[in-house]
Amino acid sequence: MSKERIQISEDLYDIMPPDYQDLVKSATYGKEDRGWKDIGTSKELIEQHSLCAGCPESMAFRYILASLPNPEDTVMVGSTGCTSLVFPMVAVHNIHSLFGNQNAIASGLKRALSVRFPGRVKDVVVLAGDGATVDIGLDMTLQAWFRQEKFTTICFDNELYANTGGQESGLMQKGFVAKMAPVGKLFDKVRLPEIARESGCHYVINCTVSKPSLVEKVIRNAVHIAREIGPTYLQLYTPCILEIGKNSMEGLQEMRDSEKPTERFAYKEYISEPAKQLLAELAAKDKERKAAAKQLAGQASA
């Protein structure tokens, strides 16, 4: 679907709720260089949400939705958890899967879209929590990577089952005591980024969402690589401030503390050789496009 097709019928325009009118007037569908800097000057693809005040997940959602390179032709697949409370307010096609089933759904969806729309770029992005990705859905997650399915998997890692009161998850750090895990975690945090690399992902990132420009970069890279080469995986730390005993305004600092070089969310990336080549080509094209735009602007002002 192109933005040209997203128009409200003139005779019923006045009865449409204002958020839909704004989406048509000032959302960034179809804008080639869309990114987090559009936030504040254009209509975001997320309306109100039901996450807790100050939840870093809401920041992550805003940055990701602002950074998707092709939102009008993207389908997101969610799973059970806090994220599933947000998707109803997101203006990008999305599917809610059974708990843990998200990568299996996305596999079929991506293949079906390729058959149905052979001439069009259709991106599929999975966005699920750590419980869905590494515990309940690990089978589906890994199998999709083994099969080299061409979509991006994003894991919002808050290191526990936040939505149900703080049970232990595979991505919880060793020794952590949660409300519903009073003994403390007995084994190490599952090293899913390393597993992703070994399972065939071409682009693997482990980071927090404290820096919007970084989130924008990794989202764009992940989607482009998944589109052309194969599976990509992003593990983003979105701490549950309630479950780790922080206040609403402390989420950002928690992420900054956790991304220090010796901490568990220090920025880590793995890029396969074909993916490196693709990124270099994309960077060159981008440079060319910007130079041409600059030249055009110069001619217009002369």
């Binding site: 097709r5 997203i6 128009q7 409200i8 019928s9 003139e10 005779d11 019923l12 009865i15 449409m16 709720p17 839909y20 039901s50 409370l85 998707f87 109803p88 307010m89 997101v90």
Partner: protein
Amino acid sequence: MSDYRVLPGPEHFLPPAAASMGICLPNPGEAHINGVIAPEEKAYEEAARQFLMAKVPTIFPGPLVLWAWNEKAAKKATAVRHLFNTLVECVQPGQKPMLIPMPDYRPKYPKINPEVEINPNHPNLTIWHNRIDCCMFIGVHCHQANLSLKIIRGGTSCYTIAMCAQAGHEDAMLSFRDASVEKIMKLADTVKRLKGTVQPRLASAKNGVSS
């Protein structure tokens, strides 16, 4: 033929799908009223009568007419607006016609604003809030329309009309099929023709809507 009748509710928390109770869809040129197949002409009269009787007759346009996907959709939107304007002209003081959109099918948790929109996953909220006692769905995809119509029948006493572009809806109290601009305009003409001949149920409307 089934003895079951598709009547205004509240039927109960989980009303059966009318199809499972033996209600059949009309053939081309026909409609159904309360689950009984009837000539389309009779359905126009009955739909118009229900609109004119209602305290809050309401049209719920769905995504297939709200969004200008193509020229046909835009023309249907124009016809829907004409039908609404006709209702406004033809009702008596005290009746309050409404035009409330269903822009898409997202569940929209934690809440929707029932004053300005209806959602197929909890349509009863909009109906209760606005005390709607007769409504017409148009331009809503079949699955979502069936879902909404069942919820409305289950929890409210609202009379439901489906102006369906496909084969009709068993779960509506009255259903047209093969909706077109001409059919919407014909319904508007029938409303105009019956103006003044139908007594609105203003006194009983307050008790008519279940909440």
